[in-house]
Structure formats: C-alpha cells, structure tokens
C-alpha cells in the first residue's frame, strides 16, 4: 500500500534530487542537513523507492560518455498501419524507447547502438521493413539541466 509522502518525505525528495555528498556516510550528512538520523533517512529512502515515488537513486551518467551512440528518430505513420509499424520498430533491440505523439510525425523513438555508424544502418533497415522514411535528429548539443520535481 502506497503511503502519501509526508512533509519530511517531501523535504527528502527535494534534497535527494541534488547531489549526494561524496563521503563515507553520505546519508548521515543529508540527515544532518535535514535534522534526521542516518537511519531515518535510509528507512524513508527505502520506503519511497518501494512505493515507486523514487524510481532510482544513483549516479546520472552522460549517456554518450558511457560509449555508444544515441539518436532520436521520428516517423510519420498512417493510422491504419500504426500497430504493424510499431511492432516492426519495437522488434529492434536498438530501439530504447518509443512514444506515440500527436503530430504528423507521430512515432518518436530513440536508437541506442554501440557505434555511430550503426544508427544509420538500423534506420535504413526500419525504412526497408516499413516502407516509411525515418528522420534522424541526433543531438548536436546537450544543455545543462536544472530540472527538479517539487514534492
């Protein structure tokens, strides 16, 4: 049963979206900032994760720095073919996520491959299988993100 986050949970959720101190007992350090014991911080973080309020806790990596290539792609898929095209696109293990969006370009997915050259070859395979054009939108520049969810 999911419990609603209380005020202490909210302050913890807000604090944990900022960087964890790089020290031996980082949760004790956060506890000192918020007036909580290390044990209480850990208990609450465990519960918030179990309840699915926090999906993940750990390092955020620059995807490209991990090696491999990523590319946002879009297709304009006629409604009658949509499910068949989706099945063909999703069958590729290189397709990391895929969203239907309300636009003439109505299918948007990310390709993740080992090397930059593979992006074009997977896109060409999808074009051959579906008979539809795949537009490639590789990132040319990534901007620093200040995103935080206010709990």
């Amino acid at each position: 049963m999911t419990t609603c986050p209380d005020e202490i949970d909210k302050s913890l959720i807000n604090r944990l979206q900022d960087d964890l101190p790089l020290e031996t007992r980082p949760f004790a350090a956060i506890g000192r900032e918020l007036g909580l014991s290390e044990e209480e911080v850990l208990q609450r973080v465990h519960r918030l994760k179990e309840d699915g309020i926090l999906t993940r806790f750990g390092p955020f990596f620059d995807a490209a720095a991990l090696g491999g290539a990523f590319c946002l792609c879009a297709m304009s898929v006629p409604a009658v073919q949509f499910d068949a095209v989706m099945t063909k696109v999703n069958a590729h293990p290189e397709v990391a996520h895929n969203y239907e969006r309300e636009h003439a370009l109505n299918m948007w997915f990310v390709l993740a491959t080992e090397s930059a050259g593979e992006i074009a070859s997977v896109a060409r395979r999808i074009e051959a299988e579906t008979g539809l054009e795949v537009l490639l939108f590789p990132k040319e520049r990534e901007f620093f993100i200040g995103f935080r969810v206010a709990a």
Binding site: T24, A28, G52, F57, V89, F147
Partner: protein, 162 residues
C-alpha cells in the same frame, strides 16, 4: 576523458542504482574488490569529467502529480540557439534540452525541450514562459504531447564482448 576498465566496472555496478546502505561507496568497493577511497576518488574524477552529472534520486513525476509532459520544439536563430539553450535547460520544469538538426521542409525546429507540468494547460503555460525567454530569436514553435508509451527500456552500458 575515457573511462578505463575499473571506471567501467564502477559504472556497471552503479548504473541500476547505488546500494541504499549507510556506506554505499564501501559496498560498491567490496563488490568490486576495490578500496572505498579508490571508488570515491574515481567517482569524483568521473564527475569532474562530466561522465557522472550528479548522484541523486530520480522521482516518479507521475506519482508526484506531474502527469503531463510535452516535447516542446522551437525554431531558433542559429546564431543565438546555444546561448538561449542554456537558459531553457536551466528551467526547473525542463527535463531534457537539446539542439538538434532541422529536417526541412517538414521540420523547422532546432531546439527541443521536454516540459513537465500537472496538466497540459500547465505545460502550455510553461511554453509561454519559454517563448518569452526566446523572444524574437524564435519564429515558430510547437509542442508534441505523447499519447502512448510504445516501448520503454532503460539505457544500459553494453559490454563490448556481448
């Protein structure tokens, strides 16, 4: 910087998350047969190099009421897009912000910013805020809402030998 073999082990061991224990870096070190100091030092180096952005929680926006998100897209003057992109990325309601190539004639937009809000109306309001920052440098814009998640798998570091 290119992560070496030990860095890659640390990345692999932590990419699904850090152990939620009192001494998480010691736990990672024990798992990999390294000293805690070495794990902390290497993470510090990876952070300085930008490979690790930060160590933090990823909240579920949906469970915190942020149920709407839109991919806002903007046609921004090429001479100004990099500077303006920094301002848009720094907004607290933007979770991703990239400059990407246009695909003319169908797609005139070169700046992409994922905007989150409690409703579509709120996303539209945030887009008005972005439009205000971009000013005359932006001639056209649109916002694409997702109607369905068709596939979602996490991005994972893949081993070369796989």
């Amino acid at each position: 910087m290119k992560p070496d073999a030990i860095d890659r082990k640390i990345i692999e061991a932590t990419q699904s998350g850090l152990p939620l224990v009192a001494a998480p870096f010691a736990a990672v070190a024990a798992q990999l047969g390294l000293a805690e100091r070495e794990v902390i030092d290497r993470i510090e180096t990876l952070k300085r190099a930008g490979v690790i952005r930060r160590i933090a929680a990823a909240p579920n926006h949906y469970k915190l009421g942020m149920t709407a998100n839109g991919m806002s897209v903007w046609d921004v003057d090429d001479a100004q897009v990099d500077l303006l992109g920094e301002s848009i990325g720094a907004l607290p309601f933007v979770s991703h912000c990239y400059r990407r190539p246009r695909a003319l004639p169908d797609w005139p937009y070169n700046l992409f910013a994922m905007v989150h809000g409690q409703s579509r109306a709120e996303v539209h309001e945030k887009c008005v805020e972005i439009a205000g920052i971009l000013g005359k440098a932006c001639t056209r814009n649109d916002v694409l809402f997702s109607s369905r998640i068709l596939k979602k798998t996490g991005l994972r570091l893949r081993r070369k030998e796989d």
